[in-house]
Symmetry: C2
Subunit: 121 residues, 2 copies
Amino acid sequence: MANLEKAFEALGDPTRLAIFQRIATRPHSVGEIAGHLPVSRPAVSQHLRVLKDAGLVSDVKDGTRRVYEVRPEGIEALRRYFDQVWERNLKAFQAAADKISREKGSSDDRSSGNKAGKKVH
Amino acid sequence: MANLEKAFEALGDPTRLAIFQRIATRPHSVGEIAGHLPVSRPAVSQHLRVLKDAGLVSDVKDGTRRVYEVRPEGIEALRRYFDQVWERNLKAFQAAADKISREKGSSDDRSSGNKAGKKVH
DNA sequence: CACTAACGTAAGTAATGGCTAACCTAGAAA
DNA sequence: TTTCTAGGTTAGCCATTACTTACGTTAGTG
């Protein structure tokens, strides 16, 4: 999955992640995005190109503007990846997973769920 | 969610992603990982530090060795993030989502699901 | 037509970050 | 204790890359 690698590389940059998160709320034009960021518009264009090459967003021409929106296939690929990682580790996670889903559990965590008393950092 | 940013930054590097993917199959020691990669062991150590700071892996001391394993909380955070992005865009995705879940649908895609005939790149 | 708005692209620069080499530390075995 | 094994840490080099400025392009408007 070379595409996964590109997706993570794309989201790896803080500015690009910020751009993606903004688009994730609703479609945005390039100018709109640049207006809310401390970088120039061309910089945003370059970031959008990377996000697009990674399959995370797509653009729609609207007159002279260009509206970018989230691309469902890209999100699905990432969703599936983490689901897969999760399930592959399901047995090992078991205890921790319970702890998470219990959310705000009683403050006394008995035995803390790690095996053989080895210290986990 | 500054932690999300660190997680994506961590997985953004190809070598680090390879390391993470290896750990995701089963826990590995540092030497094991370095043995399968074209980089030195110190480099692997540095990458593991980044992955650990991002909350994606944890390490367990085993004698003089150090075994790294996936950290469930980190995976959960990422899973939840993409679930959230997906659901927030659910309405917009609708058509595309159907198309994906149908997988290998009939080769004739009628109307291709885009609105108003604007070209999507 | 000319003018403007909204973008993308190219080139050049500056800074981030990944890598190796050398060194240091902590256990286990002799 | 000495020796060996397995890893973490630091310093510095070098390649990547994110950014800005300047220019080119396309579509709408007068």
